[in-house]
Symmetry: C2
Subunit: 388 residues, 2 copies
């Protein structure tokens, strides 16, 4: 048995807490070769695990996080005020049942939550990389996370799951290495951003890069911060994560407190919500990672490659593709496009559009129809576990 | 005959050019009393006119401009590269035919295109107002523009026309002073912003106010400028002015030139478009005006007032309310709400939803069904001219 609870969790006062482990997976002798041709000589990867890997190593599930996620997908950290970002989905008795599955989640390459990224120190200079960090490709995320699998003793994943950017990574993984997975779940994902999608990302990046604290990306060395621009980028992005209906339901035109009293500060409740999202984000996320990760999404267009589906078509990865009907960031049309390509290559694919009023963020919520569909898909996956 | 072409136009080399006139309508002896209770002791108003007022003064049309518009709605200025912002609609032989109608357009109070606003000099201090400029209400726009009418000899307008914020002003004008107008055209307007609408405005304002050049609104006195934040606000707003389909049609995923070459600069054509919109806006618009005018829209909620429709219901203003089916900034639901309130008060109202793929900006475009509807409405208005 590999990596039981002792690796990814600590027990304290009868409660099990998760901890994020970090491992150096690439170094000077074994550098990470990127899709662009560039390489990185030091790559640390932060990850968490839940549950235990079974003897034939057939119950491993990899969680691909979204743009601003991290390795802490589920459970509690000591002293934390909230659980991991996908705690609704992952845990004992939950749709991704950690009493059955060995679940792994790792921070993305280029991120800022423990895995090497543009704010890490460049071993060549002793300074943070800044914009000297190489541009990344979705395949680079896959390269790093499959190396983590190998480190953990997992060569093959029963299930890859991801939402939004995470779903895009799942798709890339199965295209690059279909032999790595038995099943793949792509939630609220996309195989190709629209001009409007790119526009939102571009304006977010402009807010960061035009901040006087950005200093051409050298803000860490210079002791400044583009945190105001980062907050604006986050506030704008948040508008796209909820449906218009959800904004109306949650906030309407209510005042933040008492009656509306016209001024340029925070008066409407929706302004207070956005400001809070912006402020909270400043303290937990890095402006450079925001640039690098959004740019990977902009350029992602895997089906444009000739023979993109050739390897996947001759393997038997089973797909579940899901969208949410009120999601206007990655509308159902994005998911349909993925399904059309997969089905065109005879890849077994289930598609579900879930009714939800909450927009893109729906994949993070406990929506019965959504969770039931995941549960059923995983029940079948469990039946077939290790058969392939 | 009042104010013929000689007021609003100059002939040169056989071409008639428009010029913007400025008039002081309020001064220390006759201050502008605002809805908030504050007052302004110097208010200049910039305006243009087209066509000639007839003898019984019954052919006057007032054009209410949108958020970033100005008095130059139609025709050409000498040396200009483009015509006025609504030149598709207004001119000889056009739907608003300036051979028949006497047309007036004026810059909004709080604006930055000739009418007094927050960047004007505060006579009390000798410095630009900045955030000492009082907050405005939609009714204040009406007060100033009806004063301009009186100055021009127009007590009653055959037609008030406006799109977006302009449509909101038309609605306010008819609620405040229904005796001022025979007909009212409200295009792509709203009687109450949604939480999502407010969210977009709020983030745009945050981009401006968090710019290090903003200096608490004193940037003119201090020789700085929040132009980067203003550009970001404009870029974001532009995303909402077009439909997703329009973005895909116009730009798709095309490279700005040649092939996509991954970087953080301008690579996709849509990025180039947005950057251009941001840069062009910096040079023609003022960050403070952007704050003041968007805030008026946020708080606009005229039907919330008790008896809001009482005066209008006992007058005979005829309404044409139009929306565009791909407009997601002010969707058709906004127009339907206006229509429900008007019809509930027995106000004669025609409603049309126009099919257009272009989104909110459709009201600025030559869409046959849209223009034909305006033409027909104005033909009936011309038949009834001066009858009331």
């Amino acid at each position: 048995m590999h990596h039981n609870g002792a690796v990814g969790a600590r027990r304290d006062d009868d409660r099990e807490f998760t901890v994020t482990e970090t491992v150096r997976l690439f170094d000077a002798e074994n550098p990470l070769e990127l899709r662009s041709g560039a390489s990185l000589k030091e790559v640390d990867v932060a990850y968490e695990t839940w549950g235990s890997l079974n003897n034939d190593r057939s119950n491993a599930v990899f969680i691909c996080h979204a743009l601003t996620g991290d390795a802490h997908a589920a459970g509690w950290r000591k002293g934390a005020k909230r659980a991991g970002w996908w705690d609704t989905l992952i845990g004992p008795g939950k749709p991704v049942d950690t009493t059955k599955w060995f679940v792994v989640c790792a921070n993305l390459l280029g991120g800022c939550r423990g895995t090497t990224g543009p704010s890490s120190v460049n071993p060549a200079s002793g300074e943070p990389y800044g914009l000297d960090f190489p541009l990344l490709d979705m395949s680079d995320f896959v390269t790093v996370h499959r190396a983590l699998g190998h480190h953990l003793g997992v060569d093959r994943w029963a299930v890859l799951i991801g939402g939004s950017l995470g779903g895009m990574q799942v798709l890339q993984w199965t295209l690059d290495h279909p032999e790595d997975a038995d099943n793949a779940i792509v939630l609220a994902g996309s195989s190709r951003l629209t001009a409007q999608n790119i526009a939102f990302s571009a304006v977010g990046r402009q807010a960061i890069m035009r901040d006087s604290g950005f200093r051409g990306g050298r803000f860490l060395s210079e002791g400044t911060s583009p945190k105001k621009g980062l907050a604006v980028a986050r506030m704008m992005a948040h508008i796209t994560y909820l449906s218009e209906e959800a904004f109306s339901e949650k906030f309407g035109r209510a005042a933040q407190s008492g009656e509306l009293t016209p001024n340029f500060g925070v008066d409407f409740a929706v302004e207070s919500y956005l400001n809070h999202q912006g402020e909270a984000f400043q303290s937990r996320f890095d402006a450079l990672s925001y640039l690098y990760l959004t740019r990977v999404m902009d350029y992602f267009d895997p089906f444009a490659a000739p023979d993109a589906l050739k390897a996947l078509a001759s393997n038997a990865v089973k797909f579940l593709v899901m969208s949410f009907d009120s999601d206007w960031r990655f509308s159902t049309e994005h998911s349909r496009r993925i399904v059309r390509h997969l089905e065109g290559a005879r890849v077994p694919t289930s598609f579900r559009e879930i009714r939800s009023p909450w927009g893109h963020d729906s994949f993070l919520l406990s929506i019965p129809d959504y969770h039931d569909t995941i549960t059923a898909f995983l029940a079948r996956a469990a039946d077939e576990m290790g058969q392939r």
